[in-house]
């Protein structure tokens, strides 16, 4: 039922100025399931989204749409659509909502009307004649979702769709995305820096650090039993109202500079359990049982 619709194998992106933004990322998106990509800013998660949307050319690695190499960009974007982070920048301030929604319908020769699209994202039809600046952040993000649905895609790439919205309306948008996923049988890639929302919204979660995926598995396991030291640090740092303020101080250290990554494990400079080996050789993926894996020498004996 959840057949693979989009697959990335060994995706890599190096920018001219030497920044190695994404390094050998492989992941699979299945219909009707949400896959989360969690990481700090600069971890390369947004670049992965742009690579999958083919808005940015990959340095190496391949993308398979329903198992084959994708054809012309216009056919490709009929099945893969993207939603952007900043609701204030993702809609052209000069066009009314009507224009923004009818364009994709015309390009992909869909029969739906803009009114139906707005209805699908729980917005009244009279929004069509409004300009983006007359809408709130949440409403704009819903229009962006409606625009993505216009092409009737099978994959939806959501790059931090709610991180710039007010907290109280974030869940409204996330729940909308979940209903659409179930109703339209979409495969959703959910990119976020907030691991708690990944646990709430996604079926599987991948954690990225310094351009590489360091841990993966179903969301509940990864968030409740984190294996990779970085995932543990991420969860320990997340705000937790139940914990008294004076808890163990977390290690100091700066996020990695992608310009000159250390050889070996990129997290080694900040890792409390780093061994000499971590400094020199890149850790392999070690399987920890039913799909849960971590790229870390601590689990060396169970190399996948």
């Amino acid at each position: 039922m959840n057949e693979v619709v989009l697959e990335a194998r060994g995706l890599t992106k190096h920018y001219r100025r030497g920044a190695r933004a994404v390094e050998d990322v492989s992941l699979v998106l299945r219909r009707g399931r949400v896959t989360a990509l969690v990481g700090e800013s600069g971890s390369g998660k947004s670049t992965v989204a742009k690579l999958l949307a083919r808005l940015v050319p990959a340095t190496s690695g391949e993308i398979l749409l329903r198992g084959e190499k994708p054809g012309r960009f216009r056919e490709y974007c009929r099945s893969v659509q993207m939603i952007f982070q900043d609701p204030f920048a993702s809609l052209n301030p000069v066009h009314r909502i009507r224009y923004t929604l009818t364009r994709p319908l015309k390009i992909h020769r869909r029969s739906e009307t803009p009114e139906q699209l707005l209805e699908a994202v729980q917005l009244p039809a009279d929004f069509l004649d409004r300009y983006p600046h007359e809408l709130s952040g949440g409403q704009r993000q819903r229009v962006a979702i409606a625009r993505a649905l216009a092409a009737q895609p099978s994959v939806l790439l959501a790059d931090e769709p709610v991180s710039m919205l007010d907290v109280s309306i974030r869940l409204g948008v996330l729940n909308l995305l979940r209903d659409l996923k179930e109703r339209l049988h979409l495969a959703v890639l959910y990119i976020t820096h907030d691991i708690a929302s990944a646990r709430y919204f996604a079926d599987e979660t991948f954690v990225m650090y310094g351009g590489q995926v360091v841990e993966g598995g179903d969301s509940e396991t990864v968030t409740q039993h984190p294996a990779h030291p970085y995932t543990q640090l991420l969860i320990a740092s997340a705000p937790d109202p139940d914990r008294p303020a004076t808890s163990t101080p977390t290690p100091l250290g700066e996020p990695p500079s992608l310009g000159s990554p250390p050889d070996g494990c990129r997290f080694s400079p900040r890792c409390p359990q780093a061994t000499p080996r971590c400094w020199t050789d890149a850790p392999p993926r070690c399987s920890l049982g039913d799909g849960h894996w971590a790229a870390c020498w601590l689990y060396e004996e169970v190399v996948a």
């Binding site: 729940n175 968030t223 109202p241």
Partner: protein
């Protein structure tokens, strides 16, 4: 014993009323959390206290009592000497809060040049090195420029600058929103250690209420320019009374414990251009009553430590 008392403060931005006669008290050595979303007026309130609101902001009413005198009626020169000496601010956008064309040293020394004219230069430089060390930055960064620092380092320089004159009160306006969660925790923990050591009071402004529950002693929640509930952090977290407060607390997916479906709050955040009648939250409130659309509730004490502005709490809710 309170160190700062705000009474009946109202602020206009052009024709829009951004803050509606707010009462707030900051106790000595306390961390007061100020939570609210866009349009809640939390930053406007903080900047109005030291008359730092950019045009077209105008303070319409209220007093801000600090050490016996009203900050709002001080002469410009008096207020200038009081700024940073007594009340310092850690700004949000560290990217733009530091002067891009001046070195870290210059911007730190500026504070001493303005407030400690008699202090010899050597002592000033030593103090700058000490401050950087205090916030975990190596002193040789003194002659770097802001564009040569990472986001985390820039925010720590802001904190060092704020603590330069050992102020009584430090206002933190979304200090870590622009940073990653790991850096955020390091900086906030460092801030709390400094507070414990130096004993200043903190006004901590943020939209992330789960952070406030963890780091502040008391929390005031603002909505559409008014304080809707004020209570000790843990008791607010355990049992919030105002519907907006409960809704807000319920909008944070839990990282630990059982996974329960959440709804957040329907509708959209307040738009200052057309504020609803009566209680501004009534359009989004599940338990809104007739009186809520008619009259605006007043913030009144509900018990010894908590006050709420909601008709559900007050006995005369029957009177329409």
């Amino acid at each position: 014993m309170s160190v700062l008392e705000v009474r009946g403060l109202s602020v206009d931005y052009g024709t829009l009323r951004a803050v509606h006669d707010v009462d707030l008290t900051l106790e000595r050595g306390e961390v007061l959390g100020l939570a609210g979303e866009s349009g809640s007026g939390k930053s406007t309130l903080a900047y109005a206290m030291t008359r730092l609101l950019p045009p077209p902001g105008v303070i319409r009413s209220g007093t801000v009592r600090y050490k016996g005198f009203d900050l709002l009626s001080l002469a410009p020169e008096q207020l200038r000497t009081l700024r940073w000496n007594d009340i310092a601010i850690v700004f949000q956008g560290a990217m733009n809060a530091l002067n891009p064309v001046a070195s870290v040293a210059t911007q730190l020394l500026d504070v001493f040049r303005a407030h400690r004219p008699s202090m010899p230069r050597a002592a000033r430089l030593a103090r700058c090195r000490e401050l950087l060390h205090l916030v975990g930055i190596s002193p040789d960064r003194l002659d770097s420029y802001p564009h040569q620092l990472s986001g985390g380092m820039r925010q720590r320089v802001m904190i060092a600058m704020a603590l330069a004159l050992e102020p009584e009160i430090v206002i933190m306006d979304e200090p870590t929103t622009a940073l990653d969660v790991v850096m955020q925790r390091q900086i906030l923990e460092q801030m709390m250690e400094l507070r414990a050591a130096l004993g200043f009071s903190v006004v901590f402004i943020t939209h992330d209420i789960s952070l406030l529950v963890e780091f502040s002693d008391r929390i005031a929640i603002m909505y559409s320019g008014r304080v809707v509930e004020e209570a000790p952090a843990q008791s607010l977290y355990r049992a919030a009374r105002h519907p907006y407060a409960t809704g807000l607390l319920g909008s944070f997916p839990a990282l630990r414990g059982p996974r329960r479906p959440l709804r957040g709050i329907p509708g959209s955040p307040p738009d200052l251009r057309h504020v609803p009648s009566g209680c501004p939250f009534h359009p989004r409130c599940a338990s809104a009553m007739d009186v809520c659309t008619a009259r605006t509730p007043v913030l009144a004490p509900v018990d010894q430590h908590r006050s709420v502005a909601c008709w559900l709490e007050h006995e005369n809710r029957g009177a329409t």
